[in-house]
């Protein structure tokens, strides 16, 4: 119900979802690195995959030689040879 309400408000008012309910923002810069904003925590970190818990689902970044260049309270940058970015509920 809450998700529907927030979806309705964002559609009607034209406000981006990350402001209303903290949806994750994922920016992919080629295959070199990904910047993810609005994540909650790191679930799993291996060389080939990094799984994060977002506020509205999980985010999986797959590739090879992955490393976390930096992470702060709000954003994280993942470097490496990135092949997939998967969003799960």
């Amino acid at each position: 119900m809450a998700n529907k309400m927030s979806g309705y408000v964002t559609n009607k008012l034209g406000i981006s979802p990350d402001i209303i309910d903290g949806g994750s923002i994922i920016k992919i810069y080629g295959r070199e690195y990904v910047v993810i904003e609005n994540y909650k925590s790191i679930i799993e970190y291996t060389k080939d995959m990094i799984r994060l818990q977002g506020k509205r689902g999980r985010i999986s970044v797959k590739g090879s030689n992955l490393c976390i260049a930096f992470y702060t309270e709000t954003d994280m940058r993942i470097d490496g040879n990135i092949t997939d970015v998967i969003l799960n509920d």
Binding site: S41, I42, I43, E44, Y45, T46, K47, L66, C67, I68, A69, F70, Y71, T72, E73
Partner: protein, 407 residues
């Protein structure tokens, strides 16, 4: 880049964690505001970078996650300072360095001469050396007042000199004066006389009594305009003579013999191709000398110095070209060319004195290893030479009036 500099200044560690739950460890770090970066997963461990101050508070977090952090590498200023301070030779070296610095700063390392136009910097520096002011002298031996006085006495056309010692540099600032020779403005009673034998071309008299007219032939030393003005009475008798300073524009047509001789064998500069180059960087009124120390080992006996400004005066380049004097012989054509050049130069020097050449006949020839030019020049010469008037010249002898025989 700025972030990297700040990290280096604060000091950071490359830490390796193993066992336990590293993901939880990183999440806890994030929640506690501990900034870590460059997290890399190796085969069984995780390595990351962390600031030194954060690492000191990391124990509780690591214990909670049952991970074991291990320092792999230390980077940054705090570690560099610690490493330097642990060197036992540092203090003696520092003391030695300071002692050397203080000792060497007691010498003069550079002499900077500025403001000169007629004299070159090298000429002034050489003169300063003769009076004991030179590079590498002790600073306390410099007597600036004495140097200023000596320079002023030696160079009469230098009107102002300032010698100052700033740091290890001596700055000599000079101002050349173009004071004209003091000429007496007072009028002296005088005649205008002929400077050469010739014919009067024109004469315009303003003051005095003209003694010649255009077309007259005059001899050297003859009075052209007399400075004695005679006053006549009604009977035409001279009753008074008044001395004045004769003033007139007189031009004489003079024929002057011309002769010039020079040997065909002469000395000529021959550059050897050996050069020395030094640079000076001029920045914010400070001079930085970029000199090749090896140049000091090799000195040239005869040399020319060419200086040029590069990059709008920021960089001065000084090149010293060595040359040798070699004996050579002029060809006949070259000798004729030089003879013509000498004549032209002579005529130009006459023109500077308002002398006009109206006709000339000069021939040049080579004989007995010498080139000889001879001939004559007809020229119009303004007459400015003067002769003083004595009292005897102008006083009217009236003694006869009183010498009457009363008896």
């Amino acid at each position: 880049m700025l972030t990297r500099i700040i990290r280096w200044l604060r000091g950071y560690l490359l830490v390796e964690v193993y066992k336990g739950s590293p993901e939880r460890f990183f999440n806890l770090c994030r929640h506690r505001g501990v900034y870590v970066w460059n997290i890399v997963k190796t085969d069984s461990t995780y390595t990351f970078c962390i600031l030194l101050k954060d690492y000191l508070n990391l124990n509780e977090t690591a214990h909670k996650c049952r991970t074991y952090p291990k320092i792999r590498h230390r980077t940054g200023l705090p570690f560099t300072i610690k490493a330097v301070l642990s060197m036992k030779t540092l203090l003696p070296c520092f003391v030695l360095f300071m002692a050397t610095l203080i000792y060497l700063s007691g010498f003069v390392w550079n002499i900077n001469v500025s403001g000169q136009h007629r004299y070159t910097k090298e000429a002034l520096t050489e003169y300063l050396e003769t009076i004991g002011v030179k590079k590498y002298m002790r600073k306390n031996k410099l007597d600036a007042d004495m140097v200023e006085k000596t320079i002023r006495n030696q160079y009469k056309d230098i009107g102002w000199v300032s010698v100052s010692l700033v740091g290890t540099n001596i700055y000599v600032k000079i101002l050349e004066s173009d004071m004209p020779d003091v000429q007496s403005e007072e009028k002296i009673n005088s005649n205008i006389i002929a400077s050469d034998d010739g014919i009067v071309e024109s004469i315009i008299t303003r003051t005095g009594t003209p003694k010649v007219k255009p077309g007259d032939t005059v001899e050297k030393g003859q009075v052209l305009v007399s400075g004695i003005v005679e006053l006549h009475d009604d009977g035409g008798e001279v009753y008074h003579k008044m001395p004045v300073m004769a003033d007139a524009d007189i031009v004489l047509q003079v024929r002057q013999n011309y002769g010039d001789t020079f040997p065909l064998i002469h000395e000529e500069k021959q550059y050897t191709g050996r050069t020395q180059t030094d640079y000076t960087i001029c920045c914010n009124n400070n001079l930085f000398f970029v000199e090749n120390i090896l140049n000091k080992l090799e000195t040239f006996e005869k040399y020319d110095i060419i200086t040029e400004d590069i990059c709008g005066g920021l960089l001065h380049k000084k090149t010293i070209y060595e040359y040798e004097i070699t004996g050579k012989t002029y060809t006949n054509e070259k000798a004729a060319e030089i003879a013509a050049y000498n004549l032209k130069k002579y005529i130009a020097s006459l023109a500077e004195n308002d002398i006009i050449i109206i006709d000339r006949k000069v021939t040049a020839g080579v004989e007995n290893g010498k080139c000889t030019s001879s001939g004559w020049l007809d020229m119009l010469v303004p007459q400015k030479e003067r002769s003083l008037i004595t009292e005897r010249d102008w006083s009217v002898d009236k003694s006869n009036e009183h010498d009457g025989d009363d008896s």
